[in-house]
Amino acid sequence: MFSVFVIPFCIGVVALLVVSVMKYRRWISQFDKRQQMLVRKGILSWKFVGAAWEAFREGLLHWRITKRHLLLGYMHRSLAFGWFLLIVVGAVQAVLAYPNGHPPYVAIFFNYFEPRSENIAHFAEARFYANLMDGLLLYVLSGLLLAMLKKVWSRPMGMRRTTRHNLTDRIAKAALWCIFPLRLMAEAHTSAIYGNGGFLVSGLGRVIDWVRLDQPILEYQWWVCYSLALGTFFTLMPFTRYMHIFTEVFLIYFRQLGLRETTDRTGYTNFELSACSRCGLCIDGCPINNPLGITNTQGVYLLQAVRNKDLFGRAERLADQCLVCHQCSNDCPVGIDLEAIRRQVRINSRKKTDDNSGYDYLKAVRPFNALGRVAYFGGCMSHLTPSITEAMERIFQASGTPYWYMDKERSICCGRPLLQQGFESQARELRRKNTQLIKESGATMLVTSCPICYQSFTKEYNLPVRVMHHTEFIEQLLRSGQLKLKEKSALRVTYHDPCELGRGSGIYDPPRQVLEQVVHLLPTQHERERSLCCGFNLGNTVLSTEQQTEVRERARQNLLEPHPDMIATACPMCKKAFARGTDTKVHDVAEIVAEGLLETAMQPTHSTR
């Protein structure tokens, strides 16, 4: 059982195997110490069961994409799962037909060899398998049709803008798109001569027979083309986006083992870079794209620039352009840590200016004894919105919470603005000082009013105390009855989810639960994960004020659409951004609560350094 036409396919498969093994081995050898340790420790654990399930769900069924858009999910699933089943069922079919063994390529070119083999077993379910294979081919072809449709008109697939691919990707895509129609034609021509195949193939075969194209020479040409398409695709695959098909499985496994991005580019980063399918789902939600119309900054293009070894500082420019609003990492169905990769790029570009020797003045700051109290960290931005910190002080007092306002007079920044810009060692210095102050104070908990600080304290610090954003803290006080409110007011309010609090930290409910007890909360079109960035995030240093304002206007329109009496938010930065140029009042959740407090039992619990 051999024919010359199988050679391109065989070469493709071998090339694919060799190159992928080489790549994966190199990336694994580039893991840092901790990542290596996690892999060694986890490799024999049961975690691979969870990883296998996730790989099946995401790699084949494309669950997350389906949740985003049904038809788009169907397209991805029919191509991935359909092709996978074609391979698996084809292999089973070949094993049943050739009980004495067969060369591996026979399963792929089954319909060509089947009528020509003498040693074939006539197994009972042969017709069933032929029809099943045809059904699967039809399934894949339906996905292919949708993919072609998406190329010319992406709106029905839930996408406004699709990814611009590079040349190799486009060639590989052409080869991929050819594979299934060519398979159908090759099988149909064989069927025209031998009458084999299931409903689809034999149906088309009869047409071919009828128009007298049932020539062996034509048949052979179709099989050659099919094999060539397969060979081309497999050979190109490791150098194109289609490598994500395999890499995603590895990435899921490593993630289950606990591997994460670090501040440096490691082998794990290479897996993330390669796991990006260039699906483009990170494009539409980006505020740099809509409303600003800058279409080269989004996750997919950043990864492309990093992958291509950062020619001419392109990755650095793209990384700087971003608002760090977390929308793209939220939307990425592969779960790539785009924020971390962007930060790596920024850290790399600031290496020469990252100098932490300037902070020796912090040595003079002495710890304060706040044993048993709640430490309150307003945050630098809150100092410019004193109504928020005053409201918090009133809430502490009204609830009888002993507290220590640790940055009341002199504030040391939490370090996140520095880290966001890539000044890693400087940020570490500030974290060290704040950690020392918090630890030595003896405080039992840390409450902050700023979502930037909250992310910093929860993700970048390693504190021995619980950290809460003030909306969580207030929600807890209300639930436990420590805080009593007047009757609910008639004010109609829309709530803005700050990027750093919502997508950044997953805090969506506490502010809403609090607001619902004080005012009438109105829904808006872009809420929770789909909340729009206020445009003034500290993560960006290159956009002009006009551009930032344009981003803010889109978010503001969304908040004003239900005609509220007031806009509520939970971030001093967002409050400032929206308050500029609006007649509608903008208030922090803390202020609204403080306004609605039952002014009883105000206990003087307040103190500072």
């Binding site: 020469k352 200016t353 100098d355 932490n356 020797s357 300037g358 902070y359 003045y361 912090l362 003079a364 700051v365 630098c380 931005m381 100092h383 410019l384 007079e409 002199r410 504030s411 040391i412 920044c413 370090g415 603005p417 520095l418 810009q421 000044f423 400087q426 500030l430 500290l538 240093t541 290159v542 002009s544 004020t545 930065m573 400032k576």
Partner: protein
């Protein structure tokens, strides 16, 4: 105007054009977090830089925490943090 180096100043204004709008009001300095701890006058520093007096600024600028308060209070919309980052880049020994 001794040790004048106008080209660095020009490069700064080019990198962060919003600085041209500065009226020297000192709002940035008044709110500055670092200035609460140590001698650090951000208005004086960027004005000196633009005049070409850049000596000693390099170590001083490292005291900034990039907290962004100055950015929020500036009445002229100067992107003060970007100005500081651009000055540091200009003054870094390897860069030129």
């Amino acid at each position: 105007m001794d040790s004048a180096d106008l080209t660095a100043a020009e490069r700064l204004l080019e990198a962060e054009p919003s600085l041209k709008a500065c009226i020297g009001c000192g709002g940035c300095t008044a709110t500055c977090s670092a200035a609460e701890f140590v001698d650090f006058n951000v208005r004086r520093m960027h004005m000196a830089f633009v005049k070409g007096q850049q000596e000693g600024l390099r170590t001083q600028l490292n005291r900034c925490m990039l907290c962004g308060k100055c950015l929020l209070v500036c009445p002229r919309g100067v992107h003060t943090r970007s100005v500081i980052m651009a000055m540091r880049k200009e003054l870094s020994p390897e860069e030129k």
